[in-house]
Amino acid sequence: MSRPSDHIDSRSPITKDSARGSAPITQPSLGVVGYVRFFWRQLTSMRTALFLLLLLAVGAVPGSLVPQRSSDPNGVLQYFTANPRLAPILDSIQAFDVYSSAWFSAIYLLLFISLIGCVIPRSVHHFRALRAKPPQTPARLERLEAYELVNVAPANVPAGGAAIAIDAARRILRRSGYRVRVFHGAAGDLSVSAERGYTRETGNLVFHTALIGVLISVGIGGGFGYSGQKVIVAGDSFANVLLSYESFLPGRFFNETSLEPYRLSLDSFTASYERTNRAAYGMAIDYSAKVTTFLPDASGKLTSGIPGEIKVNEPLRLGGNDIYLLGNGYAPIITVRDASGKVAFHNAVPFLPQDANLTSIGVIKVPDALPKQIGMIGFFYPSKTQLMTGASTSNYPDLVNPVLSLQVYTGDLGLDGGIPRSVYSLNTDKLVKIAGRNVATPSIELSPGQTSPLPGGVGSVTFENATPKAPVNDLSKSVPRFVSLDIHRDPSQAWVLAFAILVLGGLLTSLFIPRRRVWVKASESADGALRLEYAGLARGDDPTLVKAVQEIAERHGRGLGIPTDTAAGFSDEESSATEPADANSADAKFTDANFTDAEFSAGEPTVAESSADARA
């Protein structure tokens, strides 16, 4: 349905005045209140809304061109390294935080203020319009967009004549959702005036209001949530307290007591890979983490566990928490003995996957080794193979030929300075490489179960086999898996969804419900014949209007038992468009005067003025 011309944003009063040639263009000085009102009018005008919408679209573009701190912090670091000159300049205009930047926020806040300023007066108007009665039946219906005429011969006129006919029409229209009102014409005719489609404006208002709802729920509700990341190796468990998270991002209003007290253990993790389709050989086709959750009972003790499963598209909903499976990899179990033969390190170390075949990198820090601390950077290949270049890589993500390759350093790991260090990186500045590339001893290569002495007698390293009892050539479970879980709480989510559904519902209603008026007029002539007229008018061009009026006429005729052959006037000729009634028959036209909802903002010229314009 397209919009009618009467719906176009009104002209500025100045243009109007000068067009009429009456009021002078010079205006009295505005004063503070005047200026405030002036700006408010500007802000809530349709044109400003349009401008701000387009500005919002343009403003969103830069955030897709440069990496954003919120979604790609590493990308931002890389960008700084790659563009050392440009990056600080971009940073100064918040180009790496576009969606929380002052300027982007300004655009959408202005837009939403404009929206509020626009929705409130319209709602008031609409509320009044909802209780208004359908307008008087125009005198000359034949001038309307859709028109049907049926002349009923005296013999066929139903008992009761015009009164019965109008009563029937009223009932038909009512049943079709029209609001109706019966008029007694001056010429003794009876007519029913009907209007429907208020829902259209209601839908539009619901749509716009729900948009505000979305923004508010996102803005406020998001502050109460949090999100954290946790890496768990199969077999381990995790208690939901702040300390156990790898990283944690609290919302503005977050309070530590709102962490649900639960414990979650990762019982097993299975990944399946494609084996039959050669084009996709080794592609992951399923990840599944089997977990057990322990929730507190009435006394606060963690009860016996509830088994559950987490998959990529199937998060685990636990109380107010949602737990997502975001990543996985291998966590080789490594034991390091120092020079004295004492176990200085024994742990499953999560290695970060670098490619689809899970070639992974990990770091082992052994601060307790004596006499010197030991650090290692390791590559793990689940299925090791040699490239033509001689470099090693993995050619399948599962454990077919697992190999761990370690470069070993000794010296000061720099852990005592109180500076937090990532467990995934090793600062080698103060370390001496004792095994690896470019030193006498090459990297140490181990298969599960193997041990190798470290050069210089500093100790030994063992790559433990997690399933030592399995057959010798079955290494398929020899290295445990880890998963990285995202744990979120977002209390606003349900609100956002509810408002989003209202947005969609409002949109559908406002775009597809036609708003129209229909009149049925019955007049009896002296000879006892009955003249039935049906007419319709739509707001905007409404391709189904003619059909709708025809249908009403047909149903009405059938209901009254009028033989169809007497009902001339169902042909196209008669219903076809006649030039619309002249501007003076304003009672019949869908002008602003009748459709109050067309006034978007308080500041635009009043209805009467614009129809006066039309006449001028």
Partner: protein, 359 residues
């Protein structure tokens, strides 16, 4: 059912062949329309516009109230009059061919209309073959055929043409045939030549009912936006050549007036907008399930939002003084360009979570 892959590929190429023929047909039709418009004007300069409307009178009859919209260069405005002129024309020999209904009585058609009809039939045929290919691809891999860029090209072009064909029931928009078949050919050609990938199982991230819903609705939205952009394009051309009948692009004289095109574009885009709104919401729901947040300003999300905002702007423009007509038409075209950008450049060159190009 890997053995279905080969027939699917054969079907793609066959469809492209037939689309090419249809495209040629539609283009020749445009050329003939130009020639025809010229001829009419030479014969009877005063009547040219009227005859243009007469040519469309069969529509005018079936459309009743929209009859006036279909008149050519603004002379005749009403269904009944248009019919009248067609009848009048029928009486005057040479122009009898203008009335389509006269085909039934055995009179020869103008070449233009015959070409259009042939081209449209070819389009339907190509589309059936195309659809077969989509279905075979889906059967071969056991999941919906829109999980990577090749499949997205394959399916979206099929749905775009499908929507174009279906829309004819509502409105005769065959004059967009060259645009739509040309567009489908490009999408299909680039998709098949540059983005082709063998069938693969669905990665865990895409194993969701939302893949079916979200992406399918996005394609539907895209189809309606593409029609809207086509109509807006013709609208702009029409507005530019209005009142200058002797100018180039004479075939425009056989097409609806700018205002009519604007209304048609609006109706089509409104449908697209509803689909797009749904896509946005469904995408957020899916993102929440798969990535743990419903909105994260991922590049793809950003562009989907930008497109949505542009079209919201378009809808507002239609209700804003001074923004109707050409300006809103430009917004419709820019919006569709953004859709295309989102699909091509953003998929291929921008980094983000939506890494499903399959390349």
């Amino acid at each position: 059912m890997i053995e279905l892959v080969f027939p699917s590929v054969v079907a793609v190429w066959s469809a492209m062949g037939i689309y090419t023929l249809a495209f040629i047909g539609f283009t020749l039709d445009l050329a003939k329309r130009s020639a025809w418009a010229q001829q009419q004007k030479e014969k009877n300069p005063l009547l040219a516009g009227e005859l243009a409307s007469a040519q469309r009178s069969d529509q005018a009859r079936s459309q009743g109230s929209v009859a006036d919209e279909l008149a050519g260069q603004g002379s005749v405005a009403q269904g009944s009059v248009a019919q009248g002129s067609a009848r009048r024309a029928a009486g005057s020999g040479g122009t009898a061919v203008l009335d389509r209904t006269s085909t039934a009585s055995g009179a020869p058609q103008p070449l233009s209309l015959r070409l259009e009809r042939i081209a449209f039939s070819l389009t339907v045929l190509a589309w059936l073959v195309h659809l077969t290919s989509v279905i075979l691809r889906g059967l071969a891999q056991g999941h919906v055929p829109w999980s990577n860029m090749f499949e997205f090209s394959l399916t979206s072009s099929a749905i775009i043409v499908g929507v174009f064909i279906a829309v004819q029931v509502w409105q005769n928009l065959k004059f967009l045939g060259a645009y739509i078949t040309g567009f489908a050919l490009i999408v299909l050609g680039v998709g098949t030549v540059n983005f082709y990938v063998d069938i693969k199982p669905l990665p865990p991230a895409l194993q969701s009912a939302w893949l079916v819903i979200h992406v399918f609705v996005a394609i539907l939205g895209t189809s309606f936006f593409s029609l809207g952009a086509g109509l807006s394009l013709v609208q702009l051309l029409q507005a530019r050549t209005a009142g200058v009948p002797a100018r180039a692009l004479r075939f425009l004289q056989t097409m609806p007036k700018a205002e009519v095109l604007e209304n048609l574009a609006y109706r089509v885009i409104v449908v697209g907008f509803v689909f797009w709104t749904f896509t946005l919401i469904a995408g957020a729901i899916w993102a929440e399930r798969a990535w743990g947040r419903y909105w994260g300003w991922d590049t793809k999300e950003v562009w989907t939002f930008i497109i949505w905002t542009i079209f919201a702007g378009y809808l507002h423009a239609r209700a804003t003084r001074g923004w109707r007509g050409a300006r809103s038409a430009w917004l419709a075209i820019i919006g569709f360009a953004a859709v295309m950008f989102n699909f091509t450049v953003v998929n291929l060159f921008f980094k983000g979570l939506h890494a499903y190009s399959g390349l």
